[in-house]
């Protein structure tokens, strides 16, 4: 029996007297899109912040396993989680490097690989061929992603000058350039128009199918969640109230009561 890519065991997070996440356990598999949904303040982003090392969880284990390796995220520093456990994330409020160009944003994401090749910058300063090769590989990879998100023509723009939807996609591409095993997206469809939202769905499905990595998703936009998720976890007040495939979750009475309101259908359509 192989282990799931990510397994969260009895995660709790308390801020003073407030319990933001309460005894949460779930798995997220390789090559699957797992969505975490829930009303505002349900603790979704807190789960992400625990996963990516921004807060050490109060209780619980967060285990990532791929190949032969296994990492306990709760014991690792944030940048090591990204570097070694290969978890990449995006942010609810976009965090690009606004004054750097689009291409540079994607190349910075490949820093670890480039830094090793430049041998503490010495090989880079001397312009050794080994470093040159790795650098052009990094640019190729960035180009590949620019093509996939349709920003190739704007590669030399400042990232901060891109339209909002492009910034969202660029942030996903930047996370993918770190060569992750799992991609965590915090509300990627927030603020997108329906066409951009549909493009995002395509991009996420292609990341799941073509790149073969696990995607963990926080989302409010039901059209995104219901359409592309393979599995949905519903949180309410920090507790898991449902866990399953979209259809099962949609008809779960507890979800309808807690999340969609008593009059489920009306609420759902207004959310869409």
């Amino acid at each position: 029996m192989t282990k799931p890519l990510l397994s969260v065991e009895h995660l709790s997070m308390q801020f003073g007297g407030l319990t933001a996440v309460d005894d949460l356990s779930f798995d997220a598999a390789d090559r699957r899109i797992t969505a975490i949904i829930g009303p505002n303040g349900a603790g979704k982003t807190t789960v992400f912040n625990c996963l990516t090392g921004f807060y050490p969880p109060t209780v619980g284990r967060l285990i990532v396993s791929f190949g032969e390796s296994q990492y306990q995220l709760e014991q690792m520093e944030g940048f090591r989680i990204a570097r070694e456990a290969r978890i990449a994330r995006t942010f609810q409020n976009i965090r690009l490097f606004p004054q750097m160009s689009v291409l540079e944003n994607l190349v910075v994401a490949q820093h670890t690989k480039l830094m090793n090749a430049s041998m503490f910058s010495i090989a880079g300063l001397l312009g050794l061929p080994r470093y040159r090769t790795v650098e052009s590989e990094a640019i190729e990879k960035a180009e590949h992603w620019l093509e996939r998100i349709g920003l190739l023509a704007r590669s030399d723009w400042d990232a901060g000058n891109l339209p909002y939807g492009d910034q969202r996609r660029l942030e996903i591409a930047r996370a993918m350039c770190t060569n992750p095993a799992m991609l965590c997206l915090d509300e990627p469809a927030a603020g997108l128009n329906p066409r951009e939202s549909a493009e995002l769905n395509e991009l996420l499905i292609s990341i799941r199918n073509d790149d073969g990595i696990g995607v963990l998703l926080i989302e409010h936009d039901m059209s995104v969640v219901m359409e592309i998720s393979d599995k949905i976890i519903v949180l309410d007040y920090g507790r898991k109230i449902a866990d399953g495939e979209p259809d099962a979750v949609r008809s779960d009475p507890a979800v309808i009561r807690a999340y969609l309101g008593e009059d489920g259908d009306a609420q759902e359509s207004s959310n869409v």
């Binding site: 940048f79 490097f97 606004p98 160009s101 910075v108 910058s121 300063l125 620019l146 770190t178």
Partner: protein
Amino acid sequence: MASQPQDWSATLKESAITAAIAAALMFPMIGLYTSTRAGGLAIETRWIELAIGVLLIFLGRIALIRLRDGERLVPFVGGVFAVGLGLQLPLPNGLLTVCCIAGGAVVVLRSVVLWVGGKLKATNDARNSPPLAARAQLFLKQYGPWLGAAVIAFAIAFPWLPFADRRLIDLATLVLIYVMLGWGLNIVVGLAGLLDLGYVAFYAIGAYSFALLSSNYDMSFWACLPVAAMLAAFLGILLGFPVLRLRGDYLAIVTLGFGEMIRIILINWVDFTKGPDGISGIPKPTLFGLSFSRRPPEGTESFHQFFDIPYASVDRIIFLFYVALGLALLTNAFILRIRKLPIGRAWEALREDEIACRSLGLNPTNIKLSAFALGAMFGGLAGAVFAARQSFISPESFTFIESAIILAVVVLGGMGSQIGVAIAAILLIGLPEWFRELQDYRMLAFGALMVAIMVWRPKGILSFREPTLRLHEEDRGAKQ
């Protein structure tokens, strides 16, 4: 704004209000002054100076209002008149003369700019993004390398130009030292975005390393140079560790304290640093063992003996200029190159967003420490050159005002811009030294220059950033 000139009554009214405000402000500052008399201080009045000052402000305000409304002729004539008046009329105070001439010159200049600008109105928009600056930016993008080569050629030829006398070459050396300091600090402040107010500490470390090593162990300048750089870099790391978690204002305060700490240690550790007396007799650099003194010590040869030319004391100053120039060019080459390496991009990424850096697997600790260390290293190099130029150093040379000036060079030059920092160093260091005749008004001119740069180029003289990597070469210069 309004393209129709206001009627004169409105203009006069607005100017009168300005003059009234000026009078209220100037009354205590200019109208009254204290003088020592037998038995204590007495307050005396300077009504004439006050009246002339208020009148100048009243007239200047009228000129500015007319200029704002697009009128050119009246302000131009008035400005010329003011300059002439300032030059001819013996005003009761030198400061008033300076203000009169400078104010008139500004008005003349603005009306000329308005004339040349033709249809462009001097609205606020035009002032915020002058087309001149945009064109200069395009020009720099296209001819940057040629311009750089021309500047370097000029710098190399500089000591042999007819107007370059001993004093000017010495001043140019000082400017080059500040260019190096500015470039070094630019790594920390401009690229990595860490506000460092104690940069003078590394400058001091470099200077004292060279001074102490040469006076205690007879080490030559060239042997001390790498040691000074290493020591400064090491200190940069030492400073870096405690401030890793700090950002913005907090970081600025701690680095400010660090700069003062080093200076106070230098003053109080008398056994080691000779305290406030300073260290004198610091040797000059040699050219492959050839010194530049008239009578070299026994067993050594000096430059003029070796080449069999008559002794000229200016040779030494020219040589030091070339040493500073060489080190500055080395600094420039190093920084230009490292900016395009992963570490350089990581510095900039850290400046932009530390949390995003972390989420991409960049280790902020290493990135910050490397920025501190490399920035400090160039400060140390500049310090060693400074000690060699002065022959005498004391803690007084390394006060907080030095840090502030270096920071001003970086900020006014445009953070992250190499050429901008060099221009700002020439403006801020070269001009005030050059205008030493102004005496008391030298610092006033310094302040006015800073204000002028901030008004016309609020983001620094050259503030645009060229990406370190490009996919589309044809884009270069095509868009702003």
